[in-house]
């Protein structure tokens, strides 16, 4: 789809279409809309209009607010990888199929490649980087290690986050639940059997942790 290399920063869009023209149309040209829209919206949590041009935003990643300035077209995966050096989540298919970019946003697993960074504001985002506590692995990561649930490891960060999101919602999953709940991640090495075992082990351990804690 995009030939852009991962290290390249997204280029501001070049187009013949005049952004200003549109904004004038929205902001001033049609008096009914006018600035009134912006004023009424100011009270809302997020501003009603973002862009054109780079927008300063605040993302809440792994419990910490981070400030960055991005074009409205930048996806969450690109913002994390190219602006914040959070390179755990991988950009692989970039079309909501493979799951390597999976993060947890507002408690739900999502594909970071199809969420705009500006749309992720105000939501708690959990990534693989925030999973471990110091040097202690999270039960899901540990279960992956114990069950040899990876080969090349490229899908692993996405899979681990998908598993965590899944277990948070299904504390006592059956094997069928696992198949249905993790269908959104692909592993080209075919380590699915290990992953299935890992999820069941992690679910057991996490339930134990809740009971003990």
């Amino acid at each position: 789809m995009s030939s852009k290399k991962d290290s390249e920063l997204p280029v501001p869009p070049k187009s013949g279409f005049s952004r200003r023209g549109f904004i004038r149309g929205v902001g001033i040209g049609s008096g009914a809309l006018g600035t009134g829209l912006l004023e009424t919206e100011a009270a809302a949590a997020a501003p009603a209009t973002l862009g054109p041009g780079p927008v300063p935003i605040t993302l809440n990643i792994n419990g910490k607010p981070v400030n960055l300035t991005v074009e409205p077209s930048v996806t969450l995966i690109d913002a994390m990888r190219n602006y914040l050096d959070l390179t755990g989540a991988k950009r692989v298919c970039d079309r909501a199929t493979c799951g390597a970019c999976t993060v947890i946003m507002a408690g739900k697993t999502v594909y970071a490649c199809t969420v705009l960074a500006i749309d992720a504001q105000g939501k708690n985002i959990e990534t693989i980087e925030g999973l471990a506590t110091g040097s202690a692995l999270h039960p899901v990561s540990k279960a992956f290690y114990d069950n040899d649930a990876q080969q090349c490891g490229y899908c692993t960060p996405g899979f681990v986050m998908a598993c965590k999101g899944f277990i948070d919602e299904h504390p006592s999953p059956t094997e069928e639940d696992v198949k249905h709940g993790l269908g959104g991640n692909l592993c080209r090495c075919g380590t699915y059997m290990g992953i299935r075992k890992a999820v069941l082990q992690a679910a057991k351990e996490m339930k134990g942790a809740v009971k003990n804690g």
Partner: protein, 287 residues
């Protein structure tokens, strides 16, 4: 992915969204979960109008109608007790069959319909349930049947309008429902999907039957001839075979990367049969 997008709007009401859409003059696209719009990556899109804050995220049951806001996610439909209790839960089942969990957490019912895919599982179910789709445009709102809406949806003719709500009449008591989907994998789109409803009288005769199929024509279709043929007849294996024959005649599948037309036609029979048998089993009718 969104390389050409320059600005992002988040209107707080449908009226504002429509005004923005009008001003965008074909270069603006309404987006909710964004799972289709992102993948489509249409380079003509310059402006995104996010309607997820426009007050369209709700599931309500009022009297004999269940209304669902357009930006209700598939995950919300899958989990909703109201939707699970409606028509044997076939809409919840179809929502659960839509893509992967990451998709369902973002994708919305209105977006799924707006995309106009003939394979959309939710659309097949809504067609069987005779749901009405409420579309808002600047002059007001209009409810139409899904069938009436589908061809303009497919051709993108709704660029100045917005799906705001789906209204499902609560089906009569006594009907039993079933939904079946066949896809290559858990998360792939349907090769064929079938939603069926059936009510039998005390002597096992068909009071009414509804059969809708997806991915086998250029829009989801009702197998009207098969439904007519079945009315009043005793429900048995012979009738099921007759219905399946008729369904296979009514569908017009195509060959594509996923399956051949013949395979799809054969699977229409198989899935219709399974769906009707399941409806009958739920009625307590033993064949």
């Amino acid at each position: 992915m969104f390389d050409k997008v320059e600005a992002f709007y988040r209107p707080a009401s449908v009226r504002e969204a429509l005004r923005l859409l009008h001003t965008g003059n074909g270069k603006a696209r309404v987006v909710a979960g964004g799972t289709d719009v992102a993948v489509e990556a249409d380079p003509s899109i310059r402006f995104l109008i996010d309607i997820t804050q426009a007050g369209l995220d709700y599931i309500r049951r009022k009297g004999n109608v269940c209304t669902i806001g357009a930006t209700t996610t598939m995950a919300a439909l899958e989990a909703s007790p109201v939707i699970r209790g409606l028509a044997g839960g076939i809409l919840a089942q179809a929502a659960a069959a839509c893509g992967s969990v990451q998709i369902r957490n973002m994708a919305t019912l209105g977006g799924n319909l707006s995309n106009g895919s003939p394979a959309a599982d939710a659309a097949t179910v809504l067609l069987a349930l005779e749901a009405e789709i409420v579309v808002a445009h600047q002059r007001g709102r209009k409810a139409s049947s899904l069938a009436a809406l589908y061809s303009p949806l497919r051709q993108g003719l709704l660029h100045e309008a917005l799906i705001v709500e789906v209204a499902i009449p609560i089906p009569a008591r006594g009907g039993r429902w079933s939904f079946h989907k066949l896809g290559r994998t858990e998360v792939d789109i349907s090769l064929v999907n079938v939603a069926a409803g059936l009510q039998l009288d005390s002597r096992n005769r068909v009071k009414w039957v509804r059969i809708a199929l997806g991915a086998v024509a250029n829009s989801p279709i009702r197998a009207v001839n098969a439904e007519t043929l079945a009315a009043g007849r005793t429900f048995d294996e012979i009738l099921i075979e007759d219905i399946c024959d008729e369904v296979a005649r009514e569908v017009t599948p195509i060959t594509d990367v996923r399956a051949s037309a013949e395979y799809r036609r054969t699977m229409c029979r198989v899935l219709t049969k399974r769906a009707l048998q399941e409806c009958a089993a739920r009625t307590g009718c033993s064949l």
